[in-house]
């Protein structure tokens, strides 16, 4: 995905709402999908997306082109999502949720109503719920958004080998799960 032009960025930083809307249209699907796969609900994903773009608008004036706008927006998205995940875990007092003995808390019994798409979404949500926030965000950025290791490293401000290590641990964890354990309650 190419970046939006500098001219549009400057106009948006100057308060031009039409220019800002172009930036929003360009990146909103990325932000929304990352939020959707990591947050607990659609409403939360919408709220995170809104917060990300309000922050982008507020800070656009101070954007210094040290990185591309894309990387900058990715970083804001990742930070907000991680904050959300940590706040959520703390709020619900689910510190044990990410340890070795974690069992997913929700089992949907209304299995008859699930369409194929809902089944897949539910499966993905379950898989991701077994991971720590940092592992979860790495998997979403790589497997859902298709970011390269380098882009993930820039978004998370970590070393590229740390990205490899997080992906490896996350996938080891997912591989260690029994199939019945994941699909229990799903049709």
């Amino acid at each position: 995905m190419q970046d939006v032009s500098q001219d549009i960025i400057l106009k948006a930083a100057d308060g031009d709402l039409d220019a800002f809307e172009m930036i929003f249209r360009f990146y909103s699907n990325y932000v929304f999908n990352v939020a959707l796969r990591t947050a607990q609900s659609r409403e939360d994903a919408e709220e995170i997306t809104q917060e990300v773009f309000m922050t982008v608008y507020r800070k656009l004036e101070s954007f210094r082109y040290q990185s591309s706008l894309k990387t900058w927006i990715y970083r804001i998205t990742v930070n907000m999502t991680l904050n959300y995940l940590k706040k959520e875990a703390k709020h619900k007092n689910k510190a044990v949720e990410y340890d070795e003995n974690f069992e997913p808390q929700e089992v949907k019994n209304d299995v008859k109503a699930l369409t194929e798409k809902e089944y897949k979404d539910c499966l993905i949500e379950r898989l991701l719920n077994y991971l720590t926030p940092e592992q979860k965000i790495c998997i979403v950025l790589r497997n859902v958004e298709g970011l390269s290791y380098e882009e993930i490293a820039q978004s998370l401000k970590i070393d590229i080998n740390a990205v490899r290590s997080r992906l490896k641990r996350a996938r080891e964890k997912l591989l260690s799960l029994k199939k019945e354990e994941i699909t229990h309650g799903l049709c």
Partner: protein
């Protein structure tokens, strides 16, 4: 390449399609002769890569932009003073609605500091008075009447110092 190293690569660069050249050839040669690693690669692809490939990316609901636009228009409607320096509303918010814990902590700090400074000043006065009285007494005992006229003789005078030091 041993099996452990091969499996590390499978879970990262190999399944993500990031392996190139010699390393990839070496890994694939290992897979050809090692059924266990071949099975591991197949299982990993099936369980941790393929489920995510089937995800359909979703469009951002229009309500999100509508909400953002509304908030931004409200913001733009603020008086000019707020636009020249954008962080102003946040700063004002913090000043207008101070957090009770901070207010309480600040007040407590002020009270303690006032008490400490006052106590220190009282002690200082007491020590000075006490010292002066002792010197006066000693001067009186040794019959040196002018020893306390510090202003005239430049301090407590050399006579006392000569005796005690």
């Amino acid at each position: 390449m041993d099996c452990a190293r091969v499996q590390d690569y499978i879970l990262t660069d190999y399944l993500d399609g990031c392996m190139r050249g010699e390393a990839k050839e070496e890994l694939e040669a290992h897979l050809l002769q090692c059924p266990r690693c071949r099975e591991f690669a197949s299982q990993a692809r099936q369980e941790v890569i393929e489920p995510f490939e089937q995800i359909e990316r979703e469009q951002t609901p229009e309500t999100v932009w509508a909400n953002i636009k509304e908030s931004l228009e409200e913001r733009e409607a603020l008086p000019d003073v707020f636009h020249s320096f954008r962080p102003w509303p946040d700063i004002l918010k913090k000043l207008v609605i101070p957090r009770p814990a901070w207010v309480l902590a600040s007040l407590l700090f002020l009270v303690i500091m006032t008490f400490v400074v006052r106590q220190h000043s009282l002690n200082q006065t007491y020590v000075e008075t006490q010292s002066k009285e002792h010197v006066e007494y000693l001067a009186f005992m040794i019959g040196y009447p002018d020893s306390l006229n510090g202003e005239d003789q430049g301090g407590y005078g050399t006579y006392i110092e000569e005796i005690f030091l």
